[in-house]
Point group: C3
Chain length 378, copies 3
């Protein structure tokens, strides 16, 4: 079960080159992503209307995509514009097209009711992809339901155990409770870990040694499974939390970043390492997930070697998550209950929101899938 009427991340811009259609399963439907001659992005159902061959095995011809089984040719809206064996082209040869919006290197797709797709609702990360920040997009595939992956992001207590040799320097992530703010669209988690040793991950990178103040602010949205984690480190006593992901708390819409309004604060941040990681989870199937992330930083902007080093170190850490979560996914007993502890508060809020949004989409039908792990509330 998925929320359907929202924007999901379909890919990063660099994944779809001219003339090279990309096949990707999204929300359990096959999608082909390709570009018109002018470079405009197109998303069609990756299944020819005729014999169901994948259009992603097709050949791009100008602004059209030709199925290479029997040669039917489709335009960027999915209309069939040629059927080689006949002159007339009945309208039932159309294939479904999906609204897409490409912005700041992110390709957003609407898999729900097309009439409801509003480009203005596309998450706005212009601030994060402005020249103030640098970094690279990355991708990981998960053999696990998207909620298991999201759970991980929303309970940072795991950092102390899963990432003991990489991201963590102590058990602070597990023992210092975050502040949780619940909203009708998602949540915000604020973690403040003062006076910590330098974690292995920052060795040779940070211009200071330790102890340090660390903080993580996660702003997460149920729609599209988007989470923005703003993290910072500074010499102990100098740390200050500054949040740039600004959200209208009533609507859950990202608004212009705080950054402009708080720029007066920046001098105080001169000695601070600030990261912002955009995590987006798009269901591939009920049991597998596309995990797109963008690791951005607000320091040493021109240092490309550092970009590579950080990409490798974070990939190492995120593979630690993947090993654990895929093992968890294989290990789930659908007849048993997960016992709830305090640190589950955030993930449970998000699971409830998701269930509620699915139910609202489906009207009176229940959104509760039998595949969901059951939770025992203590």
């Amino acid at each position: 079960m998925f929320i359907r009427n929202c924007w999901y991340l379909a890919g990063h811009s660099g994944e779809i080159a001219a003339g090279a259609p990309l096949a990707r399963r999204l929300l359990d439907e096959p999608v082909v992503l390709w570009r018109t001659g002018a470079g405009e992005l197109v998303a069609l159902l990756d299944r020819c209307s005729h014999r169901m061959a994948p259009l992603s095995k097709g050949r791009q011809e100008g602004d059209t995509l030709r199925c290479m089984y029997h040669g039917l040719r489709f335009d960027s809206r999915g209309a069939c514009v040629e059927a080689p064996c006949q002159s007339g082209i009945p309208s039932n040869l159309r294939v479904r097209s999906f609204p897409v919006v490409e912005r700041t290197g992110l390709i957003w797709i609407w898999m729900g009711e097309a009439a409801l797709a509003d480009p203005d609702e596309v998450p706005d990360f212009d601030w994060l992809f402005s020249p103030d920040w640098t970094g690279e997009p990355a991708y990981m595939h998960y053999e696990a339901n998207f909620e298991l992956v999201r759970d991980n992001i929303l309970d940072l207590s795991h950092v102390a155990f899963v990432h003991g040799q990489t991201l963590a320097s102590s058990d602070a992530a597990a023992t210092i409770p975050p502040e949780l703010e619940r909203f009708p669209w998602g949540l915000r988690l604020t973690n403040w870990h003062p006076n910590e040793p330098l974690p292995p991950h920052y060795e040779g990178i940070a211009p200071f040694t330790g102890p340090i103040d660390r903080w993580f602010v996660a702003t997460a949205f149920a729609k599209g499974n988007v989470a923005v984690i703003e993290a910072g480190s500074a010499p102990a006593g100098e740390g200050v939390i500054l949040v740039e992901a600004a959200v209208d708390t009533a609507s859950g819409r990202e608004v212009a970043s705080h950054a402009a309004g708080v720029s007066a604060e920046y001098p105080r941040l001169a000695n601070t390492l600030r990261h912002c990681i955009l995590h987006v989870l798009t269901p591939e199937t009920e049991n597998s997930t596309h995990y797109f992330y963008n690791l951005r930083r607000r320091f040493a902007l021109g240092d490309e070697a550092l970009t590579r080093t950080l990409a490798e170190r974070f990939e190492t850490a995120f593979l630690e998550d993947k090993v654990m979560i895929e093992a968890q996914a294989r290990n789930i007993d659908p007849d048993a209950h997960m016992q709830v502890i305090r640190s589950d508060a955030a993930l449970l809020h998000m699971r409830r929101l998701t269930r509620k949004m699915i139910e609202q989409e489906n009207g009176s039908r229940s959104g509760a899938s039998t595949r969901q792990p059951k939770h025992a509330l203590a």
Copy 2:
């Protein structure tokens, strides 16, 4: 769902050597094929009556096959002739045997009601395996329902797209409609493509360059999924269609080849490259198919190097089909409809015939399997 009361191709003669039983799943049943001491072919259910071990792991002893689990020994009709641990042999130890006919290198098997098996109904390809023709048998395995593979053969418009770098020289296969004759047993499709460039496949082989006249005549039978494609090429203006596969249009029985009656035509064909490809599809399971083919030619009969070259070139082309059809099979949405275009006429006729024959076998029960792709008639 399969037609059961007809002859299916179980293999090529060269596949079953003396003393080496072959296991092959046919119509979703395990079959062991082996030869008696005199070389006579035997087909038994490949499942010992005792503990269900595969007899194909057994040891041939004279005209019998011994199960190598507990030693039961069976004769060529499936009767148990020895049970080492006891003296009496109850008749319930018999394993099912299947009627088989071996002829011109082809092994035909009857998987239906044994009493209905009539060796006279075995397809007659004596003419094709006469010394007038030469070539080699070949085999390909498909992870796809047999009808998806047959569909491909019956809509040659795919040649222009799937085989653009091999068999096709233009889009003629897609744009020139074939003549379709429908019969109660199958169909005939006649394609005439005059004045074409020489296709890549014939480079270095044809004694002429181009332009050429090309033709393809496909005679296809619902029973046994047999299709004979007679193809020819000649310098433009010299082409002439000559069909040797002769069928009694009422019964669908192959009759003596036309060849004798039309031999007066042969002088006109001196400069013609004539191929005949016998395609036979035998279901392995609902979702996989044995594809047997014989690539025969009526020119350069003694040239064995040419036989090898042609075998390789056609294998390359047929692998292009396999890639597309297996991708199609994985991509089918059982809840959606395939939209029908003009070139589907032949395959739809054959699908309807097949459905009807299955229904007739099953009496009042419907032969429509839910696994069949649905078709939307325009």
Copy 3:
């Protein structure tokens, strides 16, 4: 369907090293086996009570095991003793623990109702692991239901066919019927094969050539799927069957070995090669089985090279079984019947006992699983 209230073999002692928890699926449940600081064996459900991550990916800390996802820590009885993110620990965080008994290198586990677990019912093989015998434990994994593997052990007629090049020297195993004694807990099969050639397996090992007398006495228990096969070989005319596995025929409990009482017989056995193989089958799932065996011998006790040679030869022979049984498992038609012959008497008795014990455990519910092969009684 399994008998649950009995001791099953979970592993051999050498498999579980200090600080290295072992994951093993037993009776279709994930189990983690580990040792406390003092080396005591612990078996817990391998699924954290919190988010169901496998505890076998955890870290052992003294006498506790920490889940390395969110850091919950469990003691050897499964009680949660730490939840890093909170102070109180609700009792519902407990994970299930299983009674285990480690004895003579064998780790026995009780997967049923814990209150019924009686350590005195653990099979007693002290005699076999006494200094009178030597040998090594071994393991093989089967993709087959445990009863198919047990069937093989209980019908030694297969030796003549499956092991023709290894264990067998003639068809005696198939043609000389064993004596079968049926008990409410299992059975005993006594095979006596006088005046046989030396089998390939004993070449270069036996201090005699042939002919020889051979015997096999199999004592098998329905509970835990345990079978003890005592085998011997001696120069023809000198063979004598001596059984050391002593069982109280009413209760099925192993009692002190006969050995003490029959030691007066030993001088007669000076020229005899005596083996005892302990076979234990523990269901992994309905369709896969852990096969543990101990190949013990009562000759050349100090010869370690011989231990290796025998281990290799028996592994070769047991792989012959595995190939056949896994082929059988894949080949079973659940809608057909296995036809019964005389040599099935032992395995049928054991299958009936097993069915009856399962039914007794389940009260009025039928213990017959639809996955069981059906038998046609002649």
